[in-house]
């Protein structure tokens, strides 16, 4: 298993060596972020930077707080009763964790694709167009819808039935529609919370392919429990793991964050090595 990953990593990274980190533009600067549910920490002390036009993968075992972490980045956890966070998340230099920040405005720039495809019970066209209409992007709507669907590699499959219900699409198509819907409103960052975990391998590879194509325009942060997927799509990889607190309660922690190739071939932490070589998790 580890050899396949290493091969995949080598194949992927041979194409595009990463420039030194100092030269990359920083989208997120996250500093000692704690995320708590009802006062109990789910994630503790995360510090990392997310760079522009790269795909950043968050990997780790179940329950390590990957999803909790990524949902902090667009204030999606605000909807969970009892949730709170401390620390700072600077987005283009602005802290977005404060109470004086409008989560709606944050989400306007930081889009999200969820684990299970969740198209609106509307037509395929309206799924993509509705968000734009509500957000005031009303000029040349048809062109924008076509562009978004083309970018999401779905246009050819649906162009003849734009008015049919989105629920008639297959799971993989629905997820690509959700990606089209997210990028149609022209976000800066797209967060993906295990976007392929409910999909078959063909649909999965379609989504990985389009992330690769789209990262010239967007910045992606993707949570995945599939290490091969991280190896295939990500430029940077963060490995989260579960730690035990003093009273025995479990919380997630960032163990290592580095270029994907480094994480999978020469991790500097023992726990990362155990995880990526399949000895644990």
């Amino acid at each position: 298993m580890s050899t396949t990953i290493e091969t995949a990593v080598k194949v992927e990274t041979r194409r595009q060596p990463l420039p030194p980190r100092e030269r990359l533009e920083r989208i997120f600067q996250i500093e000692s972020l704690d995320a708590l549910y009802a006062g109990k920490a789910a994630v503790k002390g995360v510090t990392l930077e997310v760079y522009k036009n790269l795909v950043t993968a968050i990997i780790g075992p179940s329950g390590c707080g990957k999803s909790t972490f990524i949902r902090c980045l667009n204030r999606m956890n605000d909807l969970v009763p009892g949730f709170s966070m401390s620390g700072t998340i600077r987005y283009h230099g602005q802290d977005i964790t404060g109470h004086n920040v409008d989560p709606v405005a944050v989400r306007r720039h930081i889009g999200m694709v969820f684990q299970r495809p969740n198209p609106f019970p509307k037509s395929i066209y309206d799924n993509v167009a509705w968000g734009m209409k509500v957000l005031g992007m009303k000029e040349s709507l048809d062109d924008r819808v076509e562009r978004a669907l083309t970018q999401a590699a779905l246009w050819d499959e649906v162009k003849d039935r734009l008015k049919t219900s989105a629920l008639s699409l297959s799971g993989g198509q629905q997820q690509r529609l959700c990606i089209a819907r997210a990028i149609a409103v022209e976000p800066d960052v797209v967060l993906m919370d295990e976007p392929a975990s409910a999909l078959d391998p063909i649909a999965t590879s379609a989504i990985e392919q389009l992330m690769n194509d789209l990262k010239r325009e967007y910045t992606f942060v993707i949570v995945t429990h599939n290490m091969q997927q991280a190896a295939r799509v990500a430029d940077m990889t963060a490995f989260f793991s579960i730690s035990r607190g003093d009273e025995g309660h479990r919380f997630g922690q960032l163990v290592e964050y580095d270029a994907t190739q480094k994480i999978f071939t020469a991790p500097s932490d023992r726990r990362t090595e155990d995880y990526v070589t399949g000895r644990f998790g």
Binding site: V104, A105, F114, N118, F120, W130, G131, L167, V185
Partner: protein, 307 residues
């Protein structure tokens, strides 16, 4: 301790282990219990059939177009037989229930939206309990409450009657709306919010359209429920003349109150008309309930489609 040998599997299970114990007796008990359960279900069905049948049998004779379109001749002067129709009661019920629905619908839907979409869990459960208690308040108590609140000061009126009915409708409508809002998948809300769309817009454009069928169902059921209420109207809208009136500033006759009053009369013709009015009321409630069921199943299909 089983001894390994012929007729035994690798797991040490003999044929005797698989043989049912006391099978004939268990079959009998099973039959009897099934029969009892079926009987209980038949009693419920039978009750409705008997009610509908007896009302239909007695009411059908007096059921004619005059009943629906003509006013009573000269109603409650003592001893005088009441003739002709009950149009004033049907019109009055229409106005009372219509006004009650108009009062309840916006309030009930707003309460439900607040509790499901915005309120913290503690407030949600607290208000839910209050609604359940309100739902359990006897109709006659609601009638006395509205009597004390409105009628003592400004006399009986259609408004007072409609308000009493609205008090009965509110918890039913709110609870059923809450249930359908809860059925709308959270993933749809997240999808909309994730696009950077405000919560009010998400509620209005994504959640409410999904719940519309269910809200209609709840409303129709609440209407069917209060259309047959007598007690809240006795104190609030019952001292009426014989003329049909659409004006809610005066007391309005209603079908249940008319049935009650006619059944108190000594005259068999009045009784016949009471039965006929009861039949009309029953048919209305059966019809609205069936309509509600139709909408309910349709909206449930829509909510569960594709997942």
């Amino acid at each position: 301790m089983p001894v390994p040998g012929a007729g035994m599997s690798a797991h040490g299970i003999t044929r005797a282990d698989l043989q049912a114990v006391n099978l004939p007796r268990r079959r009998v008990v099973n039959r009897v219990m099934q029969l009892l359960c079926t009987l209980a279900a038949l009693i419920a069905v039978g009750l409705l059939v008997i009610i509908v049948y007896s009302v239909a049998k007695r009411g059908f004779a007096a059921l004619n177009l005059d009943l629906l379109t003509k006013d009573p001749a000269n109603s409650f002067s003592f001893g005088a037989p009441v003739k002709e129709g009950l149009a004033n009661a049907f019109v009055g019920s229409l106005v009372l229930v219509g006004l009650a629905t108009a009062m309840t619908l916006p309030v009930g839907i707003l309460i439900a939206i607040y509790l499901i979409e915005f309120a913290p869990p503690t407030i949600r459960s607290g208000v839910s309990v209050v609604l359940d208690v309100l739902n359990g308040v006897p109709a006659i108590v609601i009638g006395i409450f509205v009597y004390g609140l409105i009628v003592i000061g400004s006399g009986q009126s259609g408004w007072a009657g409609a308000f009493a009915l609205a008090c009965l409708m509110l918890p039913i409508l709110t609870r059923s709306t809450m249930e359908v809002l809860r059925l709308v998948p959270g993933s749809l809300r997240e999808a909309s919010l994730g696009l950077g769309i405000p919560r009010w817009r998400t509620t209005l454009s994504i959640v409410l359209p999904q719940a519309l069928g269910g809200i209609v169902t709840g409303t129709v059921l609440a209407i069917a429920r209060v259309a047959g209420e007598t007690a809240p109207l006795l104190f609030t809208s019952s001292l009426v003349g014989t003329k049909t009136s659409w004006n809610p500033f005066h007391a309005l006759q209603s079908v249940p109150v008319a049935i009650f009053e006619l059944s108190e009369q000594p005259d068999p013709a009045s009784h016949a008309r009471a039965w006929a009015a009861a039949l009309v009321l029953l048919l209305f409630i059966l019809f609205t309930s069936l309509t509600a069921r139709y909408f309910a199943s349709r909206s449930r299909r829509k909510l569960t489609a594709g997942r």
